[in-house]
């Protein structure tokens, strides 16, 4: 007999017991471990997906900020370029104006220097001429230059026409103060008396005369009253001398000399 029914029953029981044992020791723990791992993997994957989404979001934000930054930088660069160009033009204008001002100042300084030189030459020439004339007059007439100048001044006052005398009289008649006579040197008593006499004749009244010494007035004598002035000087003679000297310097042919001579001609009034 191939089938032993006791063995069949025992094997059936054994199999059911084995099913229970395997369920307890194999399937349940293994399936629990697999489920836990799958859950964990699912969590990790979900976390990874979340991080990926966050990364994508941050990347988009970064790209957006980059674009905005580039745009802002481009606009700032454009604005700055315009401002720099305008500032450059402004600075160039300022520099040009400064150079022009400096050049004008320099020209003015050169002109002043030339003028001062010209004046120094003029004064020196006047003094030299004055000294020569005084020496010559002293040698020839045995009289001092001051006497001669005072004589000439008195003679010219007396040689005025009647019409001119009337004009002077009407001009000097309302003089509130004394008549001032200015000269570069102290006049001798005789010349002072002569001048006082002429002044009295001209004003037809006895007018006090005050004599003053003005070192700058090297070229003659001035009579001042009531804002009116009568003078004799050697300025006309010196002007012709100055003109001659200037033409002589220009004839020298040097550019600096030419500019200086030109500057001499443009000398401002002192």
């Amino acid at each position: 007999m191939l089938i032993d029914w006791f063995t069949v029953g025992a094997q059936a029981l054994n199999f059911l017991i084995l099913v229970g044992l395997m369920q307890r020791f194999l399937y349940k723990p293994i399936l629990r471990a697999i489920d836990a791992r799958e859950k964990r993997v699912a969590m990790v994957l979900a976390e990874a997906e979340m991080k990926k989404a966050e990364a994508i979001k941050e990347r988009d934000e970064f790209n957006g900020r980059n674009a905005a930054f580039d745009q802002q930088r481009a606009s700032l660069m454009s604005r700055m370029t315009g401002e720099v160009a305008s500032e450059r033009l402004r600075l160039l204008d300022e520099a040009r104006q400064a150079v022009d001002a400096w050049s004008a100042k320099r020209m003015e300084a050169v002109r002043n220097d030339a003028c001062q030189l010209s004046q120094a030459i003029s004064r020196r020439a006047q003094q030299e001429v004055f000294a020569i004339v005084r020496k010559t007059l002293g040698d020839l007439a045995a009289a001092s230059l001051e006497e001669r100048m005072a004589d000439v001044f008195v003679r010219q006052l007396r040689a005025l026409t009647e019409k001119e005398k009337e004009g002077l009289k009407s001009a000097f008649s309302g003089a509130p103060g004394p008549v001032i006579v200015r000269s570069a040197f102290d006049l001798p008593a005789a010349q002072r008396a002569a001048i006082e006499g002429v002044a009295a004749e001209l004003m037809a009244v006895a007018t006090p005369v005050r004599f003053e010494t003005a070192p700058d007035l090297v070229s003659g004598i001035e009579l001042i009253a009531s804002g009116q002035k009568i003078a004799w000087n050697i300025a006309a003679y010196l002007l012709s001398l100055e003109k001659g000297v200037g033409e002589l310097i220009e004839a020298g042919g040097q550019p600096e000399a030419g500019s200086e001579s030109k500057a001499v001609g443009l000398c401002p009034e002192q």
Partner: protein
């Protein structure tokens, strides 16, 4: 030559006896249970795990997948029964390489017991799934005339299960025994290796057939409609 290990009796008292079939079955049960307990003592739920745990996970997942492929939508309900069927028969066949070992599946009593377990389990799963009335009604499907044929089919397939497994395992044992007497050296080893393969195939066939029977029993028959048939996924809900 003994055809069945049932004939090897170690102890007997009246009707009760301990033969080689029972002894080797207990040995297999101890190996399976203790081995599983040892491996699953320190299971890791993390990504790193031991190779033995890996092996058991592969086996369990493969069995679960096979059950699902047969058509059972909730394979874990049937995993203990069908998986134990497969593992018991497979381990019983694998141990044939051990000298002096007699596979319990080479006993018709064992295969009959397994077939009887399947014979009982199929209606139990079917009734649990469909209810008693609907399950019994399924025997009259498609017509009442099919009732005796269905009953005969259940009985015959149980018999076929038992005899198929017994015949294959016993015949392989017989062939190896005969070849040992004729060509004692190389050829029996080759046949033993081939026996391992056929043992695995038999374990697969037995458990897959049991799964198919359970799937057929748990299939809910819906009333016929004149419209288009329901999709395949609605076979079992």
């Amino acid at each position: 030559m003994r055809l069945s290990p049932d004939e090897v009796i170690y102890w007997q008292h009246g009707l009760f006896k301990i033969n080689a079939t029972l002894a080797f079955t207990w040995g297999l049960m101890i190996v399976l249970a203790v081995g599983s307990k040892l491996v699953t003592r320190h299971l890791s739920a993390g990504l790193s795990r031991s190779r033995w745990q890996n092996l058991l996970e592969i086996i369990v997942i493969a069995i679960e997948k096979q059950i699902e492929d047969v058509g059972l939508r909730h394979p874990r309900r049937y995993l203990a029964f069908l998986g134990t069927l497969f593992l018991f028969i497979a381990v019983a066949s694998l141990c044939t390489v051990l000298p002096g070992y007699k596979p319990p599946t080479g006993s018709l009593s064992t295969t009959a017991a397994l077939a009887l377990c399947v014979f009982v389990a199929v209606p139990l799963f079917g009734i649990r799934r469909q209810g008693l009335f609907r399950y019994l009604a399924s025997y009259t499907h498609p017509t009442v005339i099919m009732l005796p044929f269905n009953i005969i089919g259940d009985l015959s397939r149980t018999l076929a299960l038992a005899v198929r497994l017994f015949g294959n395992i016993m015949s392989e044992e017989m062939i190896v025994g005969i070849l040992l007497t004729i060509t004692p050296f190389l050829f029996p080893i080759v046949m033993t290796v081939l026996g391992l393969l056929t043992g695995m195939v038999q374990a697969y066939i037995f458990s897959i057939l049991a799964a198919v029977y359970i799937a057929a029993a748990t299939q809910i028959h819906k009333p016929r409609r004149t419209a288009a048939p329901a999709p395949a996924s609605n076979r079992e809900t």
